[in-house]
Amino acid sequence: MEQQTSPSSKKGVTAIDGAMALIVILLIVQIWLVSATLETYLAGHYETALPGAIVSGAIFLACFGLYLFIERLDEEFRDH
């Protein structure tokens, strides 16, 4: 038998799915960034290392922020 879900809970799950999708997109960008930075470093161009690290850090913080958002939503809608 299908479990009854409240509309607010459904909304919460949708928000969590959206946040997860955003994390996945950011992660793909970050993986590309690491490989590009490493490639330029190995080619002897060191000037890309600093901006690469700054952007990578920003992406990590964004992912962590989204994770906290998921945690909060999950907790909120579980309690309801």
Binding site: I23, Q30, Y67
Partner: protein, 169 residues
Amino acid sequence: MSLFKKPSREPLWRDEFSVFSNDEKYVSRRQFSKFLVLTSLGMFVGNLWVLVRSWFPHKPSYAVTPIARAGEIPIGGVKLFPYPSLQDQCILLRTGDDTYVAYSQKCTHLSCAVFYSAAAARLECPCHNGAFSVRDGSPLQGPPRRPLPRIVVERKGDVLLAAGIRLES
């Protein structure tokens, strides 16, 4: 709200390891996003590692080694020599009366040994038809995109010396 661990009524081991075999296949959204964020942290650490390495670049020192005597090779002739280790074959070319150039013999595509083509006046790789300029080692055709590492050749009296490797990108 606890940042890292939601207080649970279950003991920690039961929370992290499922007791029922069917539950082993189940990964919650929260767990999955935790893995994603940890991967993101790993990528960031990788970027930091590259940054730290770029602040302290490793500059290898090369020995100065005699490789040939001046006049030993005719103009347009070549001589193979190992540098900097016995496993690294290099090629020395005499391009003029008093001009010598030397390059690593490893093709920058897939490390096949390049040879000097006197007819085309260029270094060629037989594996994938790559070719490099004799003047500066830059790639002329085929799959190689990077120039051949250049061996610094110095002349001391009658002796030609290999004094380092210059990597150009």
